[in-house]
């Protein structure tokens, strides 16, 4: 290793290798209505091998809450009160980045105001729900959150370093 590279390695305060850009693959299995959704494909009955399709990942994770998460899901795949199994995995299939949660759909997708209602009706076919994790799976939540918060922490540190002072 060149001397200059050795010096640089001593200077590095952020280990960029700790930052893991990840693409999430989310599938859900509605235990109440017996509908499974994987990458926007509804399957009756469920057969995971058949479910693997190329395309977009329309189930999106937006926000982590105290006892669950907010997902944007395809239209009519669940309703308030349904029990749903939600599986998260990353594209690189790392076993420590694989999570399954039994959840209850806790909130219906009610428009916030007139403007939101208009957009929801005419522009957006997606549904938004808060998924509350069943108490038996709650212990997994901190490890799940850490997967994202670690990246945010490094991103903030890197962002501040790059901006300098």
């Amino acid at each position: 290793m060149k001397k200059e590279e050795e010096q640089d390695n001593n200077e590095i305060i952020i280990n960029l290798d700790d930052f893991k850009p990840m693409k999430l693959i989310i599938s859900i299995e509605n235990m109440t209505s017996r509908v499974s959704v994987f990458r926007d494909r509804k399957i009756y009955p469920k057969d995971k091998e058949d479910l693997i399709q190329h395309g977009d990942f329309p189930i999106e994770l937006h926000e982590l809450t105290d006892k669950g998460f907010i997902l944007e899901v395809p239209d009519k795949c669940c309703s308030s009160g349904h029990m749903v199994k939600v599986t998260f995995e990353t594209e690189n299939k790392r076993p420590d980045e694989y999570f399954t949660f039994l959840t209850k759909v806790a909130d219906d997708d009610q428009p916030l105001d007139e403007e939101d209602e208009k957009r929801a009706r005419y522009q957006d076919p997606r549904q938004v729900y808060l998924f509350t994790i069943h108490h038996s799976d709650l212990e997994k939540l901190p490890r799940f959150e850490k997967m994202f918060f670690k990246n945010q922490e490094i991103a903030e540190e890197l962002f501040e370093t790059l901006r300098g002072r």
């Binding site: 590279e5 926000e63 997606r126 938004v128 991103a155 901006r163």
Partner: protein, 440 residues
């Protein structure tokens, strides 16, 4: 002392109470979640604007002039960062205006780009209310209540924006006295000197900044750009190579880094830059062209240096990155054929799209590869047929001319040469070479 002086949420509430907020995000979920959070932070609902597309957001920034913008990185086909320019135009004095980038694009290069563009906060999705609140508060309070050092720098930046260079220099020099490690002040002194075309002074200032903080990104960028301006390419490359080891790549700069690496014959670095390139989500055409060209040059270098496997590997990467761009596929095939690697050349030929496969260029390259499998007479016959069928192309002529030279057919050479020059006079040198038996 009033409670608000210490409570960040209360300070933020006071800050936001009379200001407009724009939330620009294609996702309704995200817009609604942000709207709720902004409500809890004290933003009056009628002051929070929502935009779904880039154009909608652009118009709202122009017409409504929001002080706080929370923007998704991916706004349809446009990048949310592009809105920053419009935002800054509305508020040239950046103090008290906050631009937050929110993104599910969690690539390292996106962070670099955001930091270099002076975005105030960078938040990854999925976020929690805590993360969002913490970052928004920090960004807004840093604007409202900055330390004296940053206040002086902000004043200097305002002068710099108005091209009042001497006043700007005074402010930045004053700032230098207000912090024990004032690398950012040194950077802005350097920038001001650069704008006054005092290149040597600017160089000293950037280097001075780096004595306070050896890895100060902005000072490194300033020094790199200055050295480029001074045409000191080897020195500029040293700086930028160091940056690429310490920080993620900024896609906007990677193209010129590749150019410098090739100019300075630093072929060993190209593969590392290729790795950086593969980590970039938004790849502009210029960057794709540069990476392909660099990989081809580098591949040829390794083939010439007797490292065939490495050369082939780089050509393979170039062919993937080229994604059907004919000019690069052609260069790769020519490079492989030059070294007798016709199997690899044939495999590259398959990367032409079905629409491209009837073109004269494609047929000529296929002909070139086929010559490895045919005898001289057959080669000439096939080439002649292609010409009769109207597929004239410089490569086709070169192969025929080389073939006729090998068969010692001077009469036919002259006829083909005349025909070739009438169609492609600019290729005279290449035809002359082929005529004397050198294809490459």
């Amino acid at each position: 002392m009033a409670k608000t002086e210490h409570d960040p949420v209360a300070l933020f509430k006071a800050y936001i109470a009379n200001r407009k907020v724009l939330i620009a995000d294609p996702s309704r979920t995200s817009r609604n979640a942000l709207l709720k959070i902004m409500g809890t932070l004290g933003a009056p609902p009628n002051h929070v604007l929502r935009a779904e597309t880039y154009q909608e957001a652009f118009d709202m920034i122009k017409n409504e002039k929001p002080h706080v913008v929370i923007c998704e990185y991916d706004l349809g086909p446009r990048c949310g960062l592009e809105l920053l320019q419009t935002f800054r135009e509305q508020f040239p004095e950046t103090k008290e205006c906050v631009f937050t980038l929110l993104t599910s694009n969690n690539s390292q290069s996106a962070i670099t780009q955001a930091a270099e563009e002076d975005v105030d906060a960078f938040i990854l999705k999925p976020y929690s209310q805590d993360t969002l609140t913490r970052n928004l508060l920090r960004a807004a309070l840093a604007k409202v209540n900055p330390p004296d050092y940053l206040k002086a720098i902000e004043r200097g930046k305002t002068f710099l924006f108005d091209k009042k260079f001497d006043e700007a220099l005074n402010e930045f020099k004053n700032a230098e006295l207000l912090d024990p490690k004032p690398a950012l002040a040194s950077f802005y002194i350097g920038q001001t000197e650069l704008m006054k075309t005092l290149l040597d002074e600017a160089e000293s200032s950037f280097k001075k900044g780096l004595t306070f903080n050896k890895i100060h990104y902005k000072c490194m960028v300033g020094l790199y750009e200055l050295l480029m301006q001074k045409k000191l390419y080897a020195d500029a490359y040293d700086v930028v190579r160091r940056m690429s080891r310490l920080f993620p790549a900024n896609p906007k700069r990677l193209a010129s880094v590749l150019r410098l690496a090739i100019m300075n014959k630093n072929y060993d670095d190209i593969e590392r830059y290729y790795q950086l390139f593969t980590g970039i989500d938004h790849r502009e055409e210029e960057l794709i062209q540069y990476i392909c060209a660099s990989l081809v040059v580098c591949g040829k270098y390794y083939l010439r240096s007797n490292y065939p496997n490495r050369g082939i590997e780089l050509f393979e990467k170039a062919a993937i990155s080229a994604a059907g761009r004919a000019k690069f596929l052609k260069e790769i095939i020519l490079g492989l054929c030059e070294f007798g690697l016709h199997k690899e050349a044939r495999s590259t030929l398959r990367r032409f799209s079905s629409e491209q496969q009837g073109t004269a260029e494609y047929l000529s390259l296929r002909y070139l590869i086929d010559t490895f499998d045919h005898g001289p007479a057959e080669i000439y016959a096939i080439g002649n047929q292609l010409l009769r069928d109207g597929h004239a192309d410089p490569i086709l002529y070169r192969v025929i001319l080389k073939n006729l030279h090998d068969q010692n057919q001077p009469d036919k050479i002259e006829n083909i040469m005349m025909d070739a020059l009438s169609k492609f006079p600019e290729q005279k040198e290449a035809f002359e070479k082929a005529k004397s038996g050198k294809m490459f």
